[in-house]
């Protein structure tokens, strides 16, 4: 009489055993890769806005300074999404008939806010302060990327805690002169510039938890 198990069961059983052992390892590895991928960090996904506001045009072509609209960036934790009034400053003169801006005018005159969609969304227990970064030589581009090339703004940096820490540990990599803070095209002049500016602006970054979490 033949044996209980045919010969092929040997191979199968060994393969199964091997597989069972491999799965958790592979699973964890896959997870590690996922959390670093844009799927998890939300990078590189252009966000749709209530109106087709084009940074390429305003920043790139017109060369409007970031601070014209994001006015509080230098004195508040929040860069500030411009009040509709700011749009109207120009657009009551130019394109004041444009159908593209109908919604803006409508909201403005009915005194209702424009519900902009948040692009750079930090967790709510993270307290990021724009003013101190901007005043210590961290340029807009450093975190927000080349908005002058984005039809619809997207998040280009992972914005993970590790990413924050890396800069807080070696800020000199990312410092630039204050007069260049909003420049989208600035390239650092020399190797030691970062260190020099770090001295000059008395940048001393902190990695204590309460710097960001309160």
């Amino acid at each position: 009489m033949p044996a209980l198990f045919p010969r092929w069961t040997n191979t199968v059983s060994r393969l199964t055993a091997g597989l069972l052992l491999a799965t958790p390892a592979l699973g964890i590895a896959a997870l590690m890769i996922y959390v670093r991928s844009p799927f998890a960090t939300g990078q590189f996904t252009p966000t749709e806005q209530p109106i087709e506001f084009d940074h390429r045009h305003h920043v790139g072509d017109e060369g409007i300074d970031c601070r014209y609209c994001h006015a509080t960036v230098e004195r508040s934790p929040y860069a500030g999404v411009p009040p509709t009034g700011t749009c109207m400053n120009c657009h009551s003169q130019v394109w004041n008939k444009s159908p593209l801006l109908a919604y803006v005018r409508e909201q403005y005159f009915s005194d209702r806010p424009i519900p902009w969609a948040r692009v750079h969304n930090l967790p709510d227990f993270v307290y990021f302060n724009h003013s101190i970064h901007v005043n210590k030589g961290v340029g807009c581009v450093t975190c927000h990327g080349r908005v002058d090339q984005m039809p619809a703004v997207q998040q280009v940096e992972p914005l993970t805690m590790k990413w924050c820490l890396d800069c807080h540990r070696a800020p000199e990599e990312h410092l630039r002169p204050l007069e260049q803070i909003t420049s989208v095209t600035y390239v650092r002049q020399s190797e030691d510039e970062g260190l020099r500016l770090k001295q000059q602006y008395r940048v001393h970054t902190r990695t204590s938890c309460t710097t960001c979490h309160r």
Binding site: L4, F5, S13, M32, V35, P158, T160, M161, K162, L165
Partner: protein, 475 residues
């Protein structure tokens, strides 16, 4: 030769002893009177007597025990769901008493878990022949107890879904665990202990699974046990590696047992709270663990050997030996208590003195305290008398009382210490809720469920080892 002592190699001496013994009374060994195996047996008969219960249909007795246990597991599940839904607040834990039933039961179960490995490993290394018929049993108990224990630290956190933060993994947060925290040590100790005990248990099981495979009445059972036994053939080449592997696992487990409860004791010993901040904890926790573990083995072995008809292999001699161990470890525990109080008095630390002499002995839980002393210090003393050591009824009651006592010990250590520490303003009362009790009863049910399943479907004693022993004795 392998560095570890090979039991097979010196069987001659045993054989000699056996012969000597055989002269007076057949099938006896050692200087002790009581036999390790009662009656004349062949491998075949042993095989039959030890494995048949697997083939027999489960009797009403088994069901009568199994269904309540299953209900208990259900209760456990309910409580866990409630706990995760509402939060730790469903327990009685409060502001000064941050840990209560959760950690009490954790330590209690872990302690029970210790007997298994101890019996299997240490007794194997020490050539204690009497271990063979109870070790499987004890190992299973260990495994299930540690499973129950592991539940608590996992679920006791406020946000269990973040428990993985205790593990070192490449995180995008850039922050890792704090390896100075005894809780992280626990994670590694418990998981290691669980894995090693499982391997040890399973490796021991393989030959018996093969035996089950080959004595299965039906093809389906054959296939199941066949797969479980991984195609074990009992080949000389298998045994060649098997013996040494098993010995090495034993050799590893021995320090592991000691380390695990030492680390558990560090949870408290590294604290600053009076009643926790004590250097005597590690040895006295380990002793206490063995103490309660053996008690639990007795509690389980007494009925099991009756129902499964294992009296001929789990003899009174085995039980008596275990009672001796209980007595010995009980004395160490008693010494631990004594030292705590002595140091508190002699050290002249007012906080310690308050804790031991006012709070524990006269505080809100003094009844628990005296129950603990009675069960853990008084009860074992009766094992000085052979009558008590050998009376089934008595040892069973005693073993249960001891388990109660050890639970009380953990309660006293954790709750009373936290309840009244340094600033009287923060002192407060503690009372458990029904969920606390529910989870405790639930884990008991869960444990019994697993254990009954084990008794039903797996050999309760290490058959091949008993056969080997039997053949040695016959020489």
């Amino acid at each position: 030769m392998s560095p570890v002592h090979d039991p097979a190699s010196d069987s001659d001496t045993h054989a000699a002893a056996a012969v000597a013994g055989a002269a007076t009374a057949p099938a006896q060994v050692d200087l002790e009177g009581a036999p390790l195996i009662i009656g004349e047996h062949t491998s075949e008969s042993l095989n039959k007597s030890l494995l048949d219960h697997v083939w027999r249909k489960a009797g009403p007795g088994w069901w009568a025990l199994f269904l309540p246990s299953l209900a208990g597991s259900g209760l456990l599940l309910t409580c866990i769901v409630l706990l995760e839904w509402r939060g730790v607040g469903v327990w009685g834990n409060n502001q000064p008493v941050g840990w209560a039933f959760d950690i009490i039961n954790f330590v209690w179960w872990i302690g029970i878990g210790h007997a298994g490995t101890l019996i299997s490993a240490i007794l194997l290394l020490f050539q204690q022949k009497w271990r063979t018929s109870i070790n499987r049993f004890a190992e299973a108990m260990t495994l299930f107890a540690v499973l129950c224990a592991a539940l608590y630290p996992t679920l006791h956190t406020g946000r269990p879904w973040f428990d993985y933060w205790l593990l070192p993994y490449p995180s995008t947060l850039g922050v890792g665990p704090n390896f100075k925290s005894p809780l992280v040590w626990d994670v590694f100790a418990i998981s290691t202990y669980l894995t090693v005990s499982f391997l040890f248990w399973y490796v021991g099981l393989i030959p018996d699974l093969a035996a089950l495979r080959d004595s299965s009445p039906t093809r389906r059972k054959r296939i199941v046990y066949g797969l479980l036994s991984l195609g074990w053939r009992g080949s000389g080449r298998h045994w060649h590696n098997y013996k040494i592997a098993y010995l090495l696992l034993a050799g590893l487990s021995t320090p592991l047992v000691v380390s695990v409860h030492t680390i558990v004791s560090f949870d408290f010993a590294t604290g600053v709270i009076p009643g926790w901040h004590t250097t005597v904890f590690p040895p006295y926790f380990v002793a206490g663990a063995v103490f309660s573990g053996f008690a639990m083995v007795v509690t389980l072995a007494v009925p099991a050997r009756k129902f499964l008809g294992l009296r001929h292999v789990i003899t009174d001699r085995h039980l008596e030996n275990m009672n001796k161990v209980i007595l010995a470890t009980g004395l160490i525990v008693a010494y631990g208590y004594l030292m705590e109080h002595f140091v508190a008095w002699y050290g002249g630390n007012e906080y310690e003195q308050h804790l031991f002499f006012s709070n524990r002995a006269a505080g809100p839980f003094h009844r628990v305290y005296f129950l603990m002393l009675f069960c853990n210090v008084v009860i074992p003393q009766l094992f000085w008398f052979k009558r008590a050591r050998t009376s089934i009824a008595w040892m069973w009651i005693a073993s249960i009382l001891i388990n109660v006592g050890m639970w009380c010990e953990r309660f006293i250590i954790i709750v009373t210490s936290l309840q009244q520490d340094f600033l009287p303003s923060s002192w407060d009362a503690y009372s458990p809720t029904w969920v606390d009790w529910g989870m405790y009863i639930g884990t008991l049910g869960f444990f019994c469920t697993l254990f009954l399943l084990f008794l039903k479907f797996l050999p309760a004693v290490a058959v091949s080892e008993v056969k080997e022993l039997n053949q040695e004795l016959k020489h």
